[in-house]
């Protein structure tokens, strides 16, 4: 559930002692004796628009994206920009990308897009580029340096020589639990580019990296994984405050590694189980993470949603707008030095639907 932010609701929240570490720009112009403006951007991800046949698409996923776009447009004051976090299509088809792009086009505000594996492996991002431009790039906004990585690449062998057709390749990569899949990576070329891109920056510049895969090693069986995570993290480590925001996992996750905070975003399409619910494998879900509330499958939108991301003092607050579910806010706790769920991090505050999966 998301809140229509007004002066009154913000003041009410502050009065109640809520841990609002960042506030949208029109509420507070400078925070924490700040040198930078605080601002908010919208994050919508993992739409998985799936074609059934011709002009008919899986209604369930269509509804999710439509609702996220409609609600994002209601936010006042308006967000600075919108990020689409990847996996717009399910099987990378033009029809799917077009149908998704049409829905995204209703968004007010500037859109930046991140590549997902479901967008990439049919034509290696060719049509995607026509819609949304380069696969990796960077931009600056109000003193923050934003980097978009294409972190769902894999080995040359698997990409070019393993499969007889592009369709087959896409199908194989589309199965999350497919043993024939291949681990994601950022790759040499992009890491070189990243090193270069970051070289000119002051180490005090807040960094935000948008990635589809987690840039961590969480669970290989479901490709909640970036093979060169350590190398990428090493490139980010010299900076004072780094935030990685990633999609792909369709669930709430957050973590801290050194100076790097990690926040996942939700899918608009469907939720995924937490890896520890797979009895036959070991996973490494960050211990910090308090799971989202367990979903009721009757309500298609349960445990799906979109996000408002606040930037304040170079740190991220993720406000998860979950439909039919508990709203969640994960904010950087400066004392603890890592992200915390503002309501549920305390063990005594946790609710049964977060534990009983």
């Amino acid at each position: 559930m998301s809140e229509f932010v007004t002066r009154r609701s913000v003041l009410a929240g502050a009065g109640a002692g809520a841990a609002l570490t960042t506030l949208p720009i029109s509420m507070v112009t400078l925070a924490f004796g700040g040198e930078r403006e605080d601002f908010t951007f919208t994050y919508i991800s993992d739409a998985h628009i799936q074609q059934i046949k011709g002009a008919s698409f899986v209604r369930n996923w269509d509804q999710g994206l439509k609702r996220a776009v409609a609600e994002a447009n209601l936010v006042r004051p308006e967000s600075d920009f919108v990020i689409f976090g990847g996996d717009l299509a399910q099987l990378g088809k033009r029809e799917e990308l077009d149908h998704g792009a049409e829905m995204l086009s209703k968004l007010k505000g500037r859109l930046h897009a991140v590549m997902g594996e479901h967008d990439y492996y049919l034509d290696l991002g060719d049509y995607w580029s026509k819609l949304y431009g380069p696969h990796y790039y960077s931009f600056d906004h109000k003193g923050v340096h934003f980097v978009v990585l294409n972190s769902i690449l894999t080995s040359e062998q698997w990409t070019f020589h393993r499969w007889p057709t592009a369709e087959q390749r896409m199908l194989e990569m589309a199965g999350l639990d497919n043993p024939n899949g291949s681990p994601f990576m950022v790759g040499d070329k992009q890491r070189k580019w990243l090193a270069n891109d970051l070289a000119k920056l002051d180490k005090k510049t807040p960094l935000v990296v948008f990635s589809h895969s987690p840039l961590q090693k969480i669970y290989k069986g479901w490709n909640f994984w970036t093979d060169d995570a350590e190398e990428v993290q090493a490139l980010l480590a010299p900076f004072d405050s780094v935030n990685v925001i990633y999609g792909h996992v369709h669930q709430i996750q957050y973590n801290q590694i050194g100076n790097i905070s990690f926040n996942s975003v939700m899918a608009t399409a469907w939720p995924w189980p937490y890896p520890q619910s797979y009895a036959q494998a070991e996973s490494h879900l960050p211990v910090l993470t308090i799971p989202m509330n367990r979903a009721d499958p009757f309500f298609e939108r349960d445990a799906t949603g979109w996000q408002l991301i606040d930037m304040g003092s170079g740190r991220v607050t993720a406000r998860y707008q979950l439909w039919d579910n508990d709203q969640r806010t994960v904010a950087f706790d400066h004392k603890a030095g890592h992200p915390v769920d503002v309501a549920y991090q305390e063990p005594t505050q946790r609710r049964l639907p977060q534990n009983q999966y």
């Binding site: 559930m1 998301s2 809140e3 229509f4 007004t6 002066r7 009154r8 609701s9 209604r59 369930n60 509804q63 439509k66 609702r67 776009v69 409609a70 609600e71 447009n73 209601l74 006042r76 009721d296 009757f298 309500f299 298609e300 939108r301 349960d302 707008q321 979950l322 439909w323 039919d324 709203q327």
Partner: protein, 389 residues
């Protein structure tokens, strides 16, 4: 007296269902055992039931003097012999309009009091957290009783001999000790006795009487828990059926036609609210604001156009349906759901904020009729004769 007559009617009705499983039914309708198909009525610890409170609440509920024109009581829109609704009116009518012509009309369909004791929030948008809290608001609403303050009520409560005696017996309070707290508690205590189950459905499902409902209704039950997908919100469980999940859902009624106005409406509403506008008054007097549903109460996008799941018990006698009374018959309701949350006259596209539980159902005509037949078995015999047409 009205109270005794009420109790006698209820008693007779209950006793006429000989295998209803009642332990003892006390005077003034204080049923000790819950009817077949319902759990025990939740009673808050700070307002236990007593026959004095119930008698008091009964009178307060029916008292026309608590309105600006002396002609409106709770029972005006929640009529006893209309299954506690004002069927067949679409939306409620309160005090006389200021020009003397007709009555002031609200925006919402008066829900039945029957089984309201099982709701965790009251009103279509859940803006009251208890029966006690709910009871105070209609008195002050310009389209209902139209009083400026509760003072006229208290003036009568503290001086009318009937009330003086009962407030003393029920609460041990007299004179200025009688406040709206006691009034609210009494009304709530009365409402907690308006409970009904023991319908043909209950006898079939929980009483295991194979012949209690028709074959069509049995088929309709299968649709209800199967292809119709009704059971997840209109809850039936293994040994009881509340028929409500006490949650709020946007099912496309009203909001479909207002969908293009939502951005403007929501912004306007919130500005007004920030300036101190009263939600209770706004939602009942302005039809467009009414369509925002629970959003008007919580300011959360998740519940734009969302309204509380009503119970389906006695639904056959509580037409018309939905928060705006826009669906006249049960068949109309079923068609609305079958279409995935839209009715005739709605725009082609359902609104973007539609609940994730609503989708086209592809029911056949037969299945829809069976579903209606099923819903008609949910009426308690005491209300078979409700004058709702």
């Amino acid at each position: 007296m009205a109270v005794r007559k009420r109790a006698a009617t209820m008693l007779a009705a209950m006793l006429s269902l000989s295998n209803a499983g009642f332990a003892n039914v006390g005077f003034a309708g204080v049923a000790v055992a819950e009817p077949l198909g319902l759990p025990p009525v939740p009673i808050p610890p700070d307002n236990p039931q007593s026959s004095d409170k119930i008698a008091l609440g009964n009178r307060l509920f029916h008292d026309l003097r608590f309105s600006s024109d002396g002609a409106v009581a709770c029972a005006t829109c929640h009529k006893d012999d209309h299954a506690f609704t004002d069927s067949p009116l679409r939306t409620s009518e309160g005090i006389r309009a200021s020009d003397g012509i007709g009555k002031k009309t609200g925006t919402r369909n008066a829900p039945t009091i029957i089984n309201s004791a099982y709701f965790t929030t009251l009103f279509w948008d859940g803006r009251s957290a208890s029966l006690e809290d709910q009871s105070q608001h209609p008195f002050l609403n310009p389209v209902e009783m139209g009083l400026a303050t509760h003072e006229p009520i208290l003036a009568i409560a503290r001086t009318d001999p009937f009330y003086v005696e009962l407030f003393k017996k029920a609460f041990g309070k007299t004179g200025d000790g009688v406040t709206m707290e006691e009034v609210k508690k009494a009304i709530a205590a009365y409402e907690r006795t308006i409970v009904s189950a023991d319908s043909p459905f209950d006898h079939w499902r929980f009483g295991h009487q194979e012949n209690a409902i028709s074959e069509a209704a049995k088929r309709g039950f299968e649709v209800f828990v199967g292809q119709g997908r009704c059971v997840s919100c209109h809850v039936i469980e293994q040994d009881q059926a509340l028929f409500t999940d006490n949650r709020f859902h946007n099912i496309g009624v009203g909001i479909n036609r207002a969908q293009f106005d939502v951005p403007r409406l929501s912004a306007e509403f919130l500005t007004a609210k920030a300036k101190g506008a009263d939600v209770d008054k706004a939602v009942l007097t302005d039809p467009k604001t009414s369509e925002l549903g629970r959003f008007a109460v919580t300011d959360q996008f998740d519940v734009i156009g969302a309204f509380k799941t009503p119970t389906l018990r006695n639904v056959a006698v509580t037409a018309p349906y939905m928060h705006d009374g826009s669906l006249r018959t049960l068949k109309d309701v079923v068609k609305h759901y079958n279409n995935g949350g839209r009715s005739e006259g709605d725009p082609a596209q359902v609104n973007d904020y539609l609940s994730g539980g609503i989708r086209p159902l592809n029911l056949t005509e037969q299945q829809m009729d069976d579903l209606v037949a099923f819903m008609e078995t949910l009426t308690t015999p005491a209300y078979f004769g409700a004058k709702t047409r």
